[in-house]
């Protein structure tokens, strides 16, 4: 709950916040605005420094004695290693183009959520310790000392950035605030100041292969339940293969697709589609996680977790890899995988066995997004679709941050949606495509203890959904990201409860007319399919 009023304030409620320079305002760690720290067992498992019990709201964070030296050495090392970090520290002219582009600032009004100021949190320390002008002029030059309070401030604000990169779209110099946040988090990791919502999935993924630590037999059980539901609702018995050597294609998707609602319905969509095509593909219980929370931890961790995808592709001897609807997974695949774990020269350039289309964009990574794959099938008229089965739905599409801004996949999902449902409405232009607003739960923020902050940061997205709901009666928000499917569901429940969330391939699964199917009266969710006028007359 918010703070209680102190007695003095009862007689003199001050409506205006005090006017202070940003360097003099310390963050308040209130429940709902910060994430719980990583459990020591997870840090130990990953060989990460300073595992301990501690709390952000406590005064003593139990930092190592030489914490300052550790951070400054860490900064020096990263300034030398990553040219982009050095450039981003030096180049900002504080023009303000990014200032009002962050969803947390727009929804909450905390100035330190303006990307320029979030970057200044670290840039001020850079100036004070690594530039001559900063050392001499100090605060006049925007420089400051590195203190324990600065560390607390970093922790507070670098875990209030979803690394969505909307601000970078507007920066005339191309400064990528997400990369600054990533550096900030790497430095915090050196002190053991990290969050459990990131470190536990990382530890689980490293050990078991997916975020919840689901072992192969439990994973098979979950598939069993989905396949039972498919048999009930579609009338087709599907028997997908797992860990099958010699398959042509390895399919990798975020694990939330097979254990969380509403992701499971998207997963059923994949299963139906790939079965109908008769594709020679396999799932893997080892590469059972497309998501990569290493992206929210450190470059080393991204590489460590991502490596399993290529390793499994090599072990199974597949030709190429098909990937499901995930967000940050695609930033990793598109922008890091090839340099970190490639070249994947043991794989072949992906070619659709159904249409013969060569996916030249995936020539290097050898990994194709399922939206590209399905859009190509529709374009080549390979699918029999009945969009009227989705007639109860009035659909809009949320461009997930990473697929849109990190890989530019904007048209394919829209092309698919327009072929599998009859009622599609776009949200306003400045809230979609490259300018899309984040769900406010990405980059490891999507945990329940962060609820207040997430609802705040999700306001701009929800506000645009509200608009199409009011104007067009939209009741379904489609997206291509597992984190979105989880966090937007909650966001809608708070802001626009009439709107439910779905993946693109759930709609595909509903509309797909399959060989041998029974009369479809239920959607994959088990909702009744609206009878069309034609049906009523039959």
């Amino acid at each position: 709950m918010p703070d209680e009023l102190k007695r003095k304030e009862l007689v003199d409620i001050e409506y205006r916040p005090p006017k202070k320079d940003w360097m003099d305002v310390a963050p308040r760690f209130r429940h709902g605005t910060y994430i719980y720290p990583a459990k020591p067992k997870n840090l130990k498992y990953l060989d990460m420094p300073n595992p301990r019990e501690w709390g952000p709201a406590e005064a003593d964070w139990k930092l190592p004695d030489n914490w300052k030296e550790i951070v400054l050495n860490g900064m020096r090392e990263r300034l030398d290693r990553y040219r982009s970090f050095k450039v981003f520290m030096d180049i900002c002219v504080r023009c303000g183009a990014c200032a009002d582009k962050c969803h947390f600032f727009i929804g909450g009004g905390d100035p330190k959520n303006m990307p320029v100021l979030r970057a200044e949190l670290i840039r001020s320390v850079y100036r004070g310790n690594f530039t001559k002008a900063g050392r001499i002029l100090g605060r006049l030059n925007g420089a400051r000392e590195l203190t324990k309070d600065v560390i607390k401030e970093w922790f507070y604000y670098f875990y209030q950035c979803t690394e969505c990169r909307r601000c970078s779209v507007f920066c005339p110099y191309g400064i990528d605030t997400a990369e600054i946040t990533m550096m900030g988090r790497e430095l915090l990791n050196l002190l053991g100041c990290n969050v459990n919502w990131v470190m536990e999935p990382v530890a689980n993924c490293y050990r078991t292969g997916n975020h919840l630590g689901i072992q192969p037999h439990a994973l098979m059980d979950m598939f069993g339940m989905m396949l039972d539901d498919i048999k009930d609702r579609v009338g087709i018995k599907i028997e997908p293969s797992f860990n099958r050597k010699g398959a042509e294609i390895l399919f990798v998707t975020p694990s939330a697709d097979y254990f969380a609602e509403p992701g499971i319905y998207t997963c059923m969509g994949y299963l139906l589609l790939l079965h109908e095509l008769g594709l020679d593909y396999t799932w893997s219980t080892y590469a059972s996680e497309g998501g990569n929370f290493g992206l929210f931890t450190s470059h080393e961790m991204i590489k460590r977790l991502n490596a399993k995808i290529y390793a499994e592709a090599r072990r199974l001897g597949v030709k190429w890899i098909l990937g499901g609807e995930c967000g940050h997974m695609w930033r990793v695949i598109h922008q890091y995988m090839d340099t970190m774990n490639g070249p994947a020269d043991f794989l072949e350039e992906p070619v659709s066995p159904i249409t013969g289309t060569r996916f030249e964009n995936a020539k290097s990574t050898k990994m194709v997004h399922i939206a590209e794959f399905t859009a190509d099938l529709i374009k080549n008229d390979k699918l029999k679709l009945d969009p009227s089965r989705n007639d109860d739905l009035r659909v809009t599409f949320h461009d997930s941050c990473n697929p849109s801004r990190a890989m530019g996949i904007l048209e394919e999902p829209r092309y698919i949606i327009k072929h599998v449902c009859n009622n599609f409405y776009e949200m306003p232009e400045n809230t979609i495509r490259e300018q899309t607003f984040c769900c406010a739960g990405g980059a490891g923020l999507g945990t329940d203890e962060m609820m207040e902050m997430r609802m705040r940061g999700g306001l701009p997205r929800a506000n645009a959904v509200q608009y199409v709901h009011d104007r067009h009666g939209v009741n379904r928000l489609t997206c291509m990201c597992a984190i979105d499917r989880a966090t937007l569901t909650t966001l809608m429940e708070y802001w626009v409860p009439e709107v439910k969330v779905t993946g693109v391939h759930e709609l595909v699964g509903n509309a797909l007319v399959m060989k041998g199917e029974k009369e479809r009266v239920l959607t994959l969710r088990g909702d009744p399919i609206k009878e069309t006028e034609g049906d009523e007359h039959v």
Binding site: P2, L5, G108, E261, N430, R456, L459, T490, Y494
Partner: protein, 197 residues
């Protein structure tokens, strides 16, 4: 019937009242945010500012149009309730104490008193102002109800999210099915979502 006097005065001063009240609310945020909420006109780029603007205009217009000693009629009441609810839904998740989240409505009383200061000596004007202030007090109570509703909603969401996240795991442990066949995770038995509107 209320003397036309106060309505006429309010109508004349509508612009000034709106600006001062809006600015006072915007100033409850830190300086950079305050100027952004005031200046950015696009409702999608600035949902907070546009919600506050809509609410201030609706409330002030309802007060100006109130020609009867009765409390606002159903339509009017719903309009006021809707726009105040929207602002409270936002402020309930922003960095405010409960009193500050709800207290923005009282800023209007201060603005009205200051704007009407010169007129208060005139016949019946003071009594009419007191009547308007009572209406503002009622609106404050409505805001309090909304505030509690949304804070409670936040806690509900935490629980629901946990259920969704582990949907299949709960199902596997036979924790999601009740004798009627309704699934816990589907939220059956909970109030209809339209109640939250």
């Amino acid at each position: 019937m209320i003397d036309r006097g106060i309505n006429d005065v309010l109508s004349e001063k509508r612009g000034a009242i709106l600006t001062r009240w809006f600015d006072a609310i915007a100033d409850s945020y830190p300086a950079n945010a305050s100027s952004f909420f005031k200046d950015r006109k696009d409702r999608f780029a600035n949902p907070v500012g546009s919600a506050i603007k809509e609410a201030t205009e609706t409330v002030v217009d309802v007060l100006i149009d109130g020609t009867s000693m009765e409390m606002p009629g159903k339509n009017e009441g719903e309009k006021v309730y809707g726009c105040l609810d929207r602002v409270i839904r936002i402020r309930a998740v922003q960095d405010f104490t409960p009193s500050k989240a709800v207290g923005f409505i009282f800023l209007l009383k201060r603005v009205l008193r200051e704007e009407l200061q010169q007129e208060l000596g005139k016949d019946g004007m003071y009594g009419q102002l007191l009547f308007l202030e009572s209406r503002i007090d009622s609106m404050a109570l409505v805001c309090f109800e909304s505030y509690m509703k949304y804070r409670e909603k936040l806690f509900e969401l935490k629980v629901d999210e946990f259920k969704h996240m582990a949907f299949r795991l709960l199902e596997k442990a036979n924790l999601t099915v009740d004798p009627t066949g309704d699934r816990i995770a589907s939220g059956k038995g909970a109030p209809e979502s339209s109640d939250m509107k």
